[in-house]
């Protein structure tokens, strides 16, 4: 069967802020869950400046390893149309979070089952085509990590600040002083 040609990507631009982010978008873990972890960090550009208009999305398996996800990430009130948040029973596996004015983001989730990483997709004004990367919560003998030289590999491994807080910065471009994050292609 002849493949259809894909629709090209275009930048998310500067004005997605009232359309894509939603209340509770960063909260994959049920509220108050004792096993919740925080993954947070900054997005930086090639001058080392924080990027205040990036949008990050995360996708991960449930703690039991299930990869089917669940609807309800942006569950709505049928009367007002307002986003009322996840109901806390299903694990949707999906987060969406814009960076703040300081280029910082934070999500709260549960550790993924079966793999040591969260899949990350980065959008930003100035970025014509999104970028995929991975936030590894632990160093691992993983097919991707093993293939990378140490300096590159280190960009994918979140720093454990405490037992439940992991810092994962995204550097869009090598600026000489800091290694550029490893970005991925899925051919």
């Amino acid at each position: 069967m002849a493949e259809l040609a894909p629709t090209p990507s275009q930048t998310v631009g500067p004005f997605y802020g009232y359309a894509l982010p939603f209340p509770g978008g960063a909260d994959i873990a049920p509220a108050g869950h004792p096993g919740a972890i925080t993954v947070h960090g900054h997005v930086y550009d090639g001058a080392g400046a924080p990027v205040p208009d990036a949008l990050l999305e995360f996708w991960q398996p449930a703690p039991d390893g299930s990869r089917t996800g669940a609807p309800g990430s942006l569950r709505r009130d049928p009367v007002s149309g307002a986003v009322i948040g996840r109901h806390g029973l299903d694990f949707t596996g999906f987060a969406r979070v814009p960076t703040d004015a300081d280029g910082h983001y934070a999500i709260r989730t549960l550790p993924p089952g079966g793999v040591p990483y969260l899949a990350v997709c980065v959008f930003a004004r100035g970025l014509l085509h999104h970028l995929f990367t991975r936030a590894y919560l632990t160093d691992a003998d993983d097919p991707l990590l093993t293939a990378l030289e140490p300096r590159r590999r280190a960009t994918l491994i979140a720093i454990a600040e405490t037992e439940r807080v992991h810092r994962f910065d995204v550097r869009l471009q090598d600026n000489g002083a800091h290694e550029e994050t490893v970005f991925l292609d899925f051919p």
């Binding site: 493949e3 259809l4 040609a5 894909p6 629709t7 090209p8 990507s9 275009q10 930048t11 998310v12 631009g13 500067p14 004005f15 997605y16 802020g17 009232y18 359309a19 894509l20 090639g46 400046a49 990027v51 999305e57 996708w59 991960q60 398996p61 990869r67 089917t68 996800g69 669940a70 609807p71 990430s73 942006l74 569950r75 709505r76 049928p78 149309g81 949707t92 993924p112 793999v115 899949a119 997709c121 959008f123 004004r125 100035g126 970025l127 014509l128 999104h130 970028l131 995929f132 097919p143 991707l144 590159r152 869009l172 090598d174 490893v182 970005f183 991925l184 292609d185 899925f186 051919p187």
Partner: protein, 257 residues
């Protein structure tokens, strides 16, 4: 930053297109997506990676599955951007419809489609948009829907206006609607923009022209569909969307129904 005029941008757009044509002639692959390093779009300068992307061919990759959405995530009113306020918005009422497909031509069913756009005068309902064109109290410009069983999505909205931006002096974006799309796999994620046929601003716009392949660029432009226009109500534009990227085959079974 020194002020750039359109002629400098035009020169760079032509240079990038010529370089692509030469690469194609020399046997390079067709480039469906824009290069992230595209000088005429100035904001790309510090926001594109310099390293090559690392290929992941792992059949166990988490990215071969992806998030799902359902009836809990949209309301019926979301797909009609003209009915989200007490009054009717100003502008030309249109419907925008098409199918969401994967590269094998299979419909992507029950997935979330999100759009956002400027109002008829070219102004976004966003506080950072300071273009001195009127806001419309009856138009926000945000829509959502789920695709049907044949991959169809459909929105009723207002035709957005073109608007100025600061890439260079006298830079104007052609009228467009922003689209955000999910496939069955995270690898198929797409954010893009739909344009309207025959817009005279196309050749001047570095964002559209960043797609240097003529055929690929053409796929960002909707078709006017007279047979689907509603008599005495609205004009219709048709735009099919094809998502790139691999997906796990096992996902299909688990998600149908």
């Amino acid at each position: 930053m020194t002020a750039l005029d359109q002629s400098q941008i035009d020169t760079e757009i032509t240079a990038a297109r010529d370089a692509y044509a030469k690469a194609l002639a020399d046997g390079a692959a067709v480039r469906h997506h824009p290069s992230r390093d595209y000088a005429p779009y100035r904001s790309s300068e510090l926001r594109h990676p310099k390293h090559a992307l690392v290929e992941v061919r792992d059949p166990e990759a988490v990215e071969l599955s992806g998030p799902v959405f359902g009836v809990t995530d949209v309301t019926d009113l979301d797909a009609d951007l003209t009915r989200q306020h007490t009054g009717e918005p100003i502008g030309e009422r249109i419907t925008v419809t098409g199918r969401l497909l994967d590269r094998d031509g299979k419909p992507i069913r029950g997935q979330l489609v999100e759009i956002w756009q400027a109002n008829a005068s070219g102004r976004y309902a966003h506080q950072r948009d300071q273009h001195p064109a009127p806001l419309d109290p009856n138009f926000t410009g945000v829509g959502r829907c789920l695709t049907g069983d044949d991959g169809t999505y459909r929105f009723t909205t207002i035709k957005p206006g073109p608007y100025p931006w600061r890439n260079h002096t006298n830079a104007w974006r052609p009228a467009h609607i922003h689209f955000s799309l999910f496939g069955t796999a995270f690898t198929q994620r797409l954010v893009t923009q739909m344009y309207f046929p025959g817009d005279p601003l196309f050749p001047y716009d570095p964002i559209l022209q960043a797609v240097t392949d003529d055929s690929a660029r053409g796929r960002l432009v909707a078709t006017y569909a007279h047979d689907r226009s509603s008599p005495e109500w609205s004009l219709c534009y048709r735009w099919d969307i094809v998502l790139d990227g691999p997906a796990a085959t096992w996902i299909e079974e688990g998600r149908d129904g």
